[in-house]
């Protein structure tokens, strides 16, 4: 394990210019795909935040005269079997996906960080116990665990976030632990110890900041997979319940009835999921290249 060389690339970029904007454009050029990913992500965040303004209709409002209308100037992406506007539902669905994605990634990662830090830094029996728990959580596929958890907790937004967050813990904990173990042996930690800094303080002040780069890389990668998991859960009918417009559930309902008669109901929610995940993946890839060039693909 080597020292994490997290901002080497930024520094390299900085060597060319001292101006922040130039730095950004340099990065954007060098990581075109990442920039595209970032743009996609920003668009999705904007859609989620500004849903009330962007959506042209109330996503829940039923219109018996406009049922299963194909895409048109009036309804950009058509309407569903209740005459609800698909565009508005997808825009509002971004909120759900984002809430689940960000919520569960943050929740899972923060617990993962604590577990990883404690495990790596304290060692001994704490490490042993945490390691076994991570083993257990990792022996089950994410979706299986999330399925059982939502079944146990009941389908609701917070429960789905929890159900998806828990399987994330071990992945994060593993990475943080490995980094902590490596860092612990480094001279500056030894130095901190020798001047009598408390263990907790060392962990928070010196170890944690140095694990930030791999953590950010990991979290971006997880963001996509949490969005996918939520979609799968909802597709299976165990995710976010009505009335929230969740992309996965929009798909599962149209898949049951309208594959032929109203293909737009199958295509657009799927495009939304794929695009959102694709954006985070593109961005995550570039971020990894920048922050953690060792793992560079």
């Amino acid at each position: 394990m080597a020292v994490i060389n997290y901002d080497s690339e930024l520094r390299r970029a900085g060597a060319h210019s001292t101006h922040g904007w130039r730095k950004l454009t340099y990065l954007a050029q060098r990581h075109l795909l990442g920039a595209i990913g970032l743009v996609i992500m920003v668009l999705f965040v904007l859609a989620a935040v500004l849903a009330d303004f962007i959506a042209r209709y109330d996503p829940l409002s039923v219109d018996s005269l406009q049922r299963l209308a194909p895409p048109s100037a009036q309804h950009w992406l058509g309407t569903d079997s209740f005459g609800r506007d698909v565009w508005s539902r997808i825009i509002h669905g971004a909120r759900i996906s984002l809430a689940v994605g960000v919520g569960s990634t943050l929740l899972g990662s923060s617990i993962g960080v604590i577990v990883g830090l404690a495990s790596g830094y304290l060692s001994g029996w704490v490490d042993l116990v945490f390691q076994r728990i991570t083993d257990i959580l990792q022996a089950l596929p994410l979706l299986v665990l999330a399925l059982v958890m939502t079944a146990a907790l009941g389908p609701s937004l917070p429960n789905v976030i929890i159900a998806i967050a828990i399987p994330l813990i071990p992945t994060v904990a593993r990475v943080i632990r490995a980094n902590t173990l490596a860092l612990r042996e480094l001279p500056f930690i030894e130095a901190a110890k020798s001047v009598g800094m408390s263990e907790t303080r060392i962990a928070l002040r010196h170890v944690l900041p140095n694990t930030l780069a791999p953590l950010i890389v990991l979290m971006t990668a997880q963001l996509g997979s949490t969005i996918l998991t939520e979609a799968s859960l909802s597709f299976l009918g165990l995710g976010i319940p009505e009335p929230y417009p969740s992309w996965g559930r929009m798909l599962s309902e149209s898949a049951a009835e309208y594959v032929r008669t109203a293909p737009w109901l199958v295509i657009f929610p799927g495009v939304a999921i794929s695009l959102a995940v694709f954006g985070t993946n593109l961005f995550g890839d570039a971020l990894r290249d920048i922050l953690d060039p060792r793992q560079r693909g």
Partner: protein, 315 residues
């Protein structure tokens, strides 16, 4: 090495034990149990009948007793009875395994046969447009939900052939067998293929940079020989790891894919059993899945050690 194997085996048992406890407890903190679901169709729950049924199924016993009974049975190969079908759980689970196993094997085969060559090409042609395109394709593979991909395939099949495959345990023709197994396997394997490709590419790149490859080049080995003989052989190692990790992901993918394609395998059976709160089925299936994952990981590690003599396990 021997000590390491023993240690790993013990840890595997600990993990499986932990899973059995977690799954058992999780299922029992759920409000509403199988009895409520069985009464569902009746339109009401008769409290006396419910109590009788709970007794019949042993649900009235303390949770600890229930757990010991289950594990005790499991150790003797007795998986208990399905609450819903009242048949032995083993009899319900066993016939579904080959279906899912076939799908999983085909998906892995697909992912390796697509992912490895494309990964190699991508690495060899690093920085070219082809490399760029392949990377975007592989990223999209990680972004498409497999159930959506499955749906799109079905939609395409319907609009092109006017029909779509409906599962039949004994396909009559080769084309039918292809439609029933290979198509869903591809839908689920697309993601693994993408991942395999990415890993192959990055490990190829790393190895191509290494000294012995340079040496080989310097010695006048042809470019093709360097790429395919020396580099690929070493790059396969991480790919094996990926396939190990993918085993777990694959099961997740199979759950939705079996649902989309209406395939009566174990993966979909799990979802159905969760819906029915059919504890014996859910518990045993989850244990089975965990066992597959744990054993795969173990095998991959052993394989790794066998292939790569540089790795020593002393931990």
């Amino acid at each position: 090495m021997f000590a390491y194997i023993v240690r790993r085996l013990v840890l595997m048992l600990v993990t499986l034990f932990g899973i059995s406890v977690i799954i058992f407890v999780l299922l029992r903190i759920v409000p509403g149990n199988i009895v409520d679901i069985l009464f569902d169709a009746a339109g009401f729950v008769d409290q006396a009948d419910k109590a009788n049924l709970e007794k019949e199924l042993g649900l009235d016993q303390p949770i600890f007793v229930q757990y010991v009974k289950w594990i005790g049975g499991l150790l003797q190969g007795d998986l208990g009875y399905s609450y819903v079908s009242e048949k032995p759980a083993l009899q319900e689970i066993l016939p579904r395994i080959p279906i899912t196993a076939k799908l999983a094997a085909l998906a892995l085969l697909f992912s390796a046969s697509i992912g490895i060559p494309l990964g190699v090409i991508s690495a060899v042609k690093q920085g070219t447009r082809l490399d760029y395109a392949l990377r975007v394709v592989s990223l999209s593979g990680l972004s498409l939900p497999s159930f959506w991909l499955g749906l799109l395939i079905l939609m395409a099949s319907v609009s092109m052939f006017g029909t779509m495959p409906i599962f039949n345990p004994n396909p009559a023709t080769w084309t039918e067998a292809f439609a029933i197994y290979a198509v869903p396997a591809m839908a689920v394997g697309f993601r693994s293929a993408a991942l395999t490709m990415r890993i192959t590419r990055s490990s190829m790149l790393e190895i191509l940079r290494q000294d012995y490859i340079r040496t080989a080049r310097a010695k006048g080995a042809s470019e093709a020989s360097v790429n395919y003989h020396h580099a690929l052989k070493n790059a396969v190692l991480p790919v094996i790891t990926v396939i190990g990790i993918e085993a777990a992901f694959l099961i997740g993918g199979l759950i939705v894919t079996e649902t989309v394609f209406n395939i009566p395998g174990v993966a979909r059976f799990l979802v159905e059993a969760i819906r029915w709160r059919d504890y014996p089925i859910v518990q045993n299936l989850v244990m089975l899945i965990a066992l597959v994952v744990v054993v795969t990981n173990f095998t991959v590690d052993m394989l790794y050690a066998a292939i790569d003599p540089r790795i020593r396990y002393t931990d």
